[in-house]
Amino acid sequence: MFGKLDLSAIPLSQPIPLVTSAVVILFALGVVAMVTIKGWWPYIWHEWITSVDHKRIGIMYCLLGGLMLIRGFADAIMMRTQQAVAINAEGYLPPEHYNQIFSAHGTIMILFGAMPLVLGFMNFLVPLQLGVRDVAFPTFNSVGFWLTASGALLVNVSLFIGEFARTGWLPYPPLSEATYSPGVGVDYYLWAVQISGVGTLITGINIVTTVLKMRCPGMSYLRMPVFTWTSLASCLLIVAAFPILTATLAMLTLDRYVGWHYFTNTAGGNPMMFVNLIWAWGHPEVYILVLPCFGIFSEIFSTFSGKPLFGYRSMVAATLFICVVSMLVWLHHFFTMGAGPGVNTFFGISSSVIAVGTGVKIYNWIFTMYGGRVRLAVPMLWSMGFIFTFIIGGLTGVLLAIPPADFITHNSMFLVAHFHNVIVGGVVFGVFAGMEFWFPKAFGFRLHEGWGKAAFWFALIGFWVTFAPLYILGLNGMTRRLQHINFEEWTPWLYVSLAGVIILILGVISQIVQLVVSILEREKLRDVTGDPWDGRSLEWATPSPSPFFNFAVMPNVEGEEAYWGIKLRAIETQQLAPEPEYAPIEMPLHTPVGIYTAFFSAIFGFAMIWSIWWLAIVSIVAAFIGFVVFAWRDVHEFKVPAEELAKAERARRAAREALLHRLSSHGAAI
C-alpha cells in the first residue's frame, strides 16, 4: 500500500534532522495559523498563489531562493564546524549524515537557492525593461515557478522522511547506482531535480520568447538594457542545456528503477558517459547563473556612475561569446580522467578563452566609472566587492583550466575555494546588489542603508576569511568532502575558516535585520517618485511598486537607455510628454493551474521515491487533467477599463512632475 514507506523512515534516532524538522514544521504551522487568524488567505490565494503577474512570480521566486539560501547556509555551518572538530576524531556528524549534508548543500545552493533568485530577477525585470505588460506565457510561468517550488519541497521533505543523497551534488555513478546507494536518497535527488528542472526549462522558454517576440515599439535588440541581453543569453543556455540534464537523470532513473545499464559498473554500462553528460549541462549551468548577475552589475555600474555603460556593444558581444563558448568547456571538470593531451588542450584553451569575455566585461565596468559621478551606495559596494572577488576567482579558475595545474588541484579544497569564489562573488553578491537596487521597484520603499552596509562588509570579509584558508589547504593536499581529517597540521587553517563562517553568520543576520528594519521604517524609506536611484532603463518609468499592467500606455523607445532619454527630454522641455489617449487593455486572468499541477507533481515525485505505484499513477493523471481543463477554458483575459488606466497614469504623471522640478532645480549637472 505504501511501497517502501513506513514509520521507520522518520529518523527518530537522529536528533539533528529531527529537531530541525520539528522547528520547521512548527514554524510553518505558526505561519499558517497566523494567516488563518488574520484572514489573509483570500488575499494570498488571489494575489500571490494563483497570480500570473510576472512581478509577483519573480518575487515568489526570490522568496523561495532566499529561504533555500538560508537552508543551504545552515548546511555550510554544519560542514565547517564538523571539519573543525573532527581532526583526528569523529566529530558530531557520522559519515552517513555528513555526506547527506554536503550533497544537500550543493544541490540546494545551486538549484534551489541561486537558480530561483536569478530566475526571479529575470521574471521581474525583463518585461519591465522591455516595456511590455507580461511575459509571453503568463500561466506557463506560474506552472514553472510552482514546479521549482515542488522540487525544493521534496529536497526538504527528505530531511524528515527517509534520507537525501549521499553522493555529492552531482551523483556520479557507479556510486549513485542501486548497488552502492540502495536507499531512497538518490531517488529524492533525482525526482526533486527532475521536477524543478522542468520548471526551469519552462521559464527559460518563456523569457526567450518574451525577448524575441514582445518588445515595446522602438525597442530594437541593440536598445535593450544589458540585463535583458544577459537574461536572453542565460535563457538560451537553459533551453540548450536543461534537456541534457533531464535526459541524463532519466537514464540514471531507469538504471535504478528498472535495472537498465546506461551507467552501471557491469553489463556494458559506462559511468564516464554520465560524467560527460552531467557536465555538458553543469558547466552551462554556472553561466546560466552568472550571466544575469553580470547584467545586474552592468545596470548598477552605469546608474551609480551617472553615465551610460561603457562599450555597450562589446558588452553584448562578450555576453553572447560567453554564451556560446560555455557549451564547449565541460571536459575541464575531469581533465584527470585521462582523456589524452589533445583533448585536454582543446578544453583547457576553450575554458581559458571564456576569461576573455569576462575580462572585457570587467574593463568595461571599470571604464563606465571613468568620468562619472560614482555614488557608493550599497548596490555599488556589492559591485566593487564583486569586481575584487570575481577577478581573483577568475584567476584561480584559469589555473584550474590548465590541465597540468589541474592535475594537482582537481577535487581539492583549492577547487572548492575557487568555485565559491566565483559563485559567491559573482552570483550571491550580484543577487544582493540587485536586491538593494530593485527592492523599491518591487515593494515601494528602499532598504535601510546602514544595515545594508553592515551586511556587505560582513559578507565580504567573512567570505575571504572562510575561503582563503581553503586555497592553502587545497595546496596542502586536502581533498573535498572529508567527514573527518587525519592531518593535525591543517588545524589552524580549518579554525580560521570556521571564524570566517562566524563573520558570515553576522552578515546573514544583518541582511535579515535590514529587511525587518526597512519594513518597520517603510514610511520613512518610501519611494514616491518611482525613480529612487536616477535610473536609466524603463522599469524606473513605472511607479514603485509597479501596477499589475506595468505601463498604462506602451512606451515608445527612441534610443538606448529608453527611460534616460525620456527623462532628458522632459528636463530639456521642462514638461512631461503630452498625455496620451487611454485605451482599455486585456490582462490574463489569475489561475490556480500552476499550483494544482505542481501539487500533484510533488505527490508524484514522492510516490515514485517510495515506490507507491498506485499513488504515482493517480497523481500524474490528476496533474494532466489540470492541463486539460485549463486548455478548455473559455475566458482567459479580463478587461482593464480606460478610466482605471487614466487614473493610475495621472497619479504617476503627478509624481513625475514633482521629480522633474526636483531634477531641474539641482539638475545642472546634466
Binding site: 517502501k4 521507520s8 529518523p11 559519515p95 555526506n99 527517509g162 556520479y172 557507479p174 556510486l175 548497488t179 552502492y180 540502495p182 536507499g183 531512497v184 536518497g185 559498473n265 557491469t266 559506462n270 559511468p271 551617472g306 553615465k307 551610460p308 561603457f310 562599450g311 584527470t336 580522467m337 585521462g338 593531451p341 588542450t345 583547457g348 584553451i349 581559458s352 576573455v356 569576462t358 570587467i362 574593463y363 571599470i366 571604464f367 571613468y370 560614482v374 557608493l376 566593487m384 569586481i387 577577478i391 581573483i392 584567476l395 589555473l399 583550466a401 590548465i402 590541465p403 597540468p404 595545474a405 592535475f407 588541484t409 592553502i472 595546496l475 581533498t479 573535498r480 568532502r481 549637472a669
Partner: protein, 306 residues
C-alpha cells in the same frame, strides 16, 4: 603622473603579494613542495601561470578601486562626462589585454598538456617498474606483478626510478593522488588509466583518494615510501617471504567494504589478477551488504565499519 602613480602602487602591492605567496609556499607540505619531476613540472606551471595572471590582475584591481575613488560623487574637481560611453582605442586595448594573456596561457596549456600527459613515460635512463593500482571500498590495493608482491594501503617505490602505474577500480570512482609526487588520475571500474611518477629522494609521504567514494572515503589515505634500490629489494624480499598469498579468497575479502584497513602486504598468487579485476572477470565489489535495515529507505548507517 597618473600612470606613474598606478605603477608605483602596483609595484608595492606586487612585492607584498609575492612575499605572502613565498610564505605560503614555504609553509606548504603539499603540491608546492614536490619530491619528483612530475610534481615539479605541475608546480612550476601553477606558479608561472599565477605570476603571469597576477601581472594583469593586480593592476586591474588597483585600477578599479582608483577609478571608483577618483570619480566618487563628492569629488567635483574632476570632469564629469555624462555622455562618454565609447572609445575605439580603449575597446581595442580591453579586448587585446585578455586575448594576449590567454594566448600566452594557451601556449602554456598546449605545451604543458603534452609534456605532463600522465600516460607519457618519463624520460629516464633507468627502466621503469610497473605498479598496478586497484581502488576498493575503502582501501587501495597495489600490485607489483614483476616482483610478485601486493600491498594494501602502502605504496613503496624505489628512488629515482620511473614508476608506471596502471590504475583501475573494483567498485566506484576514486582518484589516485600522491600530492607531493604530482599528477592525479581517476581510478574507474572497467577501465585502466595510466600514470607515470617518480620520487627523487628517499622520503615518507602519503597519498589519498581525491574523488568521494562513499562513507569510508575520509580514511582512504595510504602511506607512500620511497626507498633506495637496496632497501627496496630488501623490502620486496621480506614482503614476499612473510606475507600471506593474495588469492581469490583473500581478494574477495578485500573487496568487501571496510574502513581503516591497516597497511599490509601479500605475496601474489596470480600475476594477472589486475587484468581480471579491470576486465571484471572477477566481479566488482558488492557494495553495502543487505543487513537488517533499521530504517525504511535508509542505507545501513554502519555499513562496512570494522
Amino acid at each position: 603622473m597618473i600612470e606613474r602613480c598606478i605603477s608605483e602602487r602596483v609595484a608595492m602591492k606586487g612585492c607584498s603579494i609575492t612575499a605572502a605567496l613565498c610564505f605560503i609556499l614555504s609553509s606548504c607540505a603539499g603540491v608546492l613542495a614536490p619530491v619528483g619531476p612530475v610534481g615539479e613540472g605541475n608546480a612550476e606551471i601553477l606558479i608561472n601561470a599565477t605570476m603571469i595572471m597576477l601581472a594583469i590582475v593586480l593592476p586591474t584591481i588597483v585600477l578599479a578601486f582608483w577609478m571608483a575613488w577618483r570619480y566618487r560623487a563628492s569629488n567635483t574637481s574632476v570632469e564629469y562626462l555624462p555622455y562618454w560611453s565609447f572609445s575605439g582605442r580603449i575597446e581595442a586595448v580591453v579586448w587585446s589585454i585578455p586575448i594576449l594573456t590567454i594566448m600566452f596561457i594557451g601556449g602554456l596549456i598546449w605545451i604543458g598538456s603534452y609534456k605532463l600527459d600522465p600516460f607519457r613515460p618519463l624520460d629516464s635512463e633507468r627502466p621503469q617498474i610497473e605498479v598496478q593500482v586497484v581502488a576498493l571500498d575503502w582501501k587501495w590495493l597495489f600490485i607489483y606483478p614483476e616482483q610478485g608482491v601486493a600491498t594494501v594501503n602502502q605504496l613503496v617505490v624505489p628512488v629515482g626510478t620511473p614508476v608506471h602505474f596502471r590504475i583501475t577500480s573494483a567498485s566506484v570512482f576514486n582518484v589516485f593522488w600522491v600530492p607531493r609526487l604530482g599528477s592525479m588520475i581517476y581510478a574507474m571500474p572497467g577501465m585502466v588509466s595510466e600514470l607515470h611518477l617518480q620520487a627523487n629522494s628517499a622520503t615518507d609521504i602519503w597519498g589519498t583518494s581525491a574523488q568521494f567514494s562513499g562513507d569510508g572515503f575520509s580514511d582512504m589515505q595510504f602511506k607512500v615510501r620511497s626507498l633506495s634500490d637496496s632497501d627496496f629489494a630488501a623490502w620486496i624480499d621480506s614482503a614476499r617471504a612473510a606475507a600471506p598469498k593474495l588469492d581469490q579468497a583473500a581478494y574477495a575479502k578485500l573487496a568487501q567494504q571496510s574502513q581503516r584497513h591497516p597497511p599490509s602486504a601479500f605475496g601474489l598468487a596470480d600475476p594477472y589478477i589486475f587484468d581480471a579485476i579491470a576486465t571484471q572477470r572477477v566481479p566488482p565489489g558488492p557494495g553495502p551488504q543487505a543487513e537488517t535495515s533499521e530504517h525504511a529507505g535508509r542505507e545501513h548507517p554502519s555499513a562496512g565499519k570494522e
